[in-house]
Amino acid sequence: MSARSSYLPSGRYVPVLATLALLAVMYGAGALRYEAFGDGQVILNVFVDNAFLLVVAVGMTFVILTGGIDLSVGSVVALTTMLSASLLKDQAWPPYAVLPLVLLLGALLGLGMGCVIHYFEIQPFIVTLAGMFLARGLCYTISTASIPIDDPFWRSMADSKVRLAGYFVSPSVLVALVVVLVAAYVLGYTRLGRNVYAIGGSPGSALLMGLPVARTRIAVYTISGFCSALGGVLLSFYMLSGYGLHAVGMELDAIAAVVIGGTLLTGGSGYLVGTVLGVMVLGVIQTIITFDGTLSSWWTKIVIGVLLFVFIVLQRLIAARGTRSAPAAPESAPLTLTAPPAR
């Protein structure tokens, strides 16, 4: 891509490459150990089982890239499943009315939190914590029990399989992939995306450079809210029910996926492809544990914790190296002045 390409990977790709290597090693180890693991369908199943998490993690990536955090995503997912189920079953609304409504609601919740964060200068952590309580609380005002969904559209989304070359995925995976592609385009090729990186790099500078900090910051929380709602819709396809206890702790999974995908929690650095890899790492851990049968489910959490630790310390080391070299080493990128043109 660069005008003067070099053979060494640029420093900013190191975390993503590390995640890719980790994923390859985990998959390789799984394939060696369990015969059926090598089947390509296993990888596709990782996507089938985690499509909703992928969508949520995409929204989280936007937020974390600006240096913020969104704790409300799991609750918004739950609220979406609950509201969809309730509208479909109790109010007998048609799907084409329910879908836009729940997506809009998610985006609105995000918008509201974004406005409070930006205009009242309250930490994202605490605002989205309130949002988390609010969304879960709203779930229980609808019902404290699980509501099954038997809408034909929902059923068809749950049951149908998209086949390609002997393998299959669910429609939700396709939705998730579209979301990933759109998000990657937005981050890489639009002003909004670049402003997200700029704000994450230095909010003060972004303001002084005349970038629309307010609009961008509110936009990322809106995007995260929308992605959570969409993730909730996908989860309701997967579960065919709405329940206030769905997606408890999903915010942690989403944050973990983003961090393991190499995005700096302090903002400004990371790629969407890393997030996809991060979600896959989480999915493969679960798959290995399911395949093994003797390993217990809680090892998932412990392994995720260890990975978080490794990646966070890695980030810390990279950051420390960066700050040390920047002011003290002018030789790192020599300034080359071309000779003034002869006149």
Partner: protein
Amino acid sequence: MSRETDAVRDERVVADGESDLVAPRGAGRMRGLARHRLLWPVLVLVLLLLSNLIFTPGFFEIEVRQGHLYGSVVDIVRFGAPLILVALGMTLVIATGGIDLSVGSIVAICGAMACLRISDLGDQNEVTGVLAAIGLALALSLVLGLWNGALIAGVGVQPIIATLILMVAGRGLAQLITGGQIITINSSPYKLIGAGYWLTLPFSILVALAVTALAVLLTRRTALGLLIEAVGGNAEASRLAGIRSRRIMLMAYVFCGFCAGVAGLMISSNVSSADGNNAGLWIELDAILAVVIGGTPLAGGRFSIGGTVIGALIIQALSTTIYTIGVPPETTLLFKAVVVTVVCLVQSPAFRARVFRRRAPRPLPVAEKPKAEVAR
């Protein structure tokens, strides 16, 4: 005892001093009272308790049955004890400018460890064995606090991120200890901690009192409180004044781990079982909420242990109230959302500036900053 009153007087003096600057109008003593920083939390708590009278006429009745104290108000304190404990530790951590998300996991781990050891005992009522189990669990909580502190003060990871690691992995560890099962025990000495009575009082209240006293002692009898407030208020100035801020932060996280450990014992003892998955779930959020309601700003600096205790009681009273008036208990979350929002908005300088700007121009530039809330 004089130290306690000193601390209290300190708070009043600060409040008085500020009121002179913030509100030049108004009359003497009322003004001082209105500006006392515990006023609002106390008022909310009292209102909450009074509102219960509407639904439960005998709400404030307290009786002694078989030498044990009973009553709705006693229950609020009793059930609120674990939250008080966790919130106490959280107060010190937040005062240093940090946060600890892992307390819920520590609660689960310590409860699990204690129950596991007790379930291994030949005689579960053997006091020394139970004490050893408690000791081991508390030692574990100190180690976990140390781990958080080392990551934050030693490696220099942001607190919210560093404690996220243990928050995620800790649940797994707790389940690892319990083997994924709910360990049920039948040990009367252990049951004392969470559900027993001593001198007519519920033992858990006594434990909460003791740890509160410990916290007050630790921070106001020694200079730890001052140093914590200095580090949280202005880290660079503290460094130049010769404060070893890393050590101070480490101690705050260790104390926070310890408090969570005690809470873990209490919660598991109350139900005589350890559930790695659900014990102390979301208690970190309630604790942070209690601290903020109690008037300690999230940005660090000045902290109020009394405020935190009241904050925790408000949250527990809220849950109890909702339970007694027959609304589904899960909707407590809605109320919490409202409370968090209101408290944070009121604390936010930007919000005050936007909302109150039109009402009255500020008399003095000093008044620009609300109480004890200077971000570093």
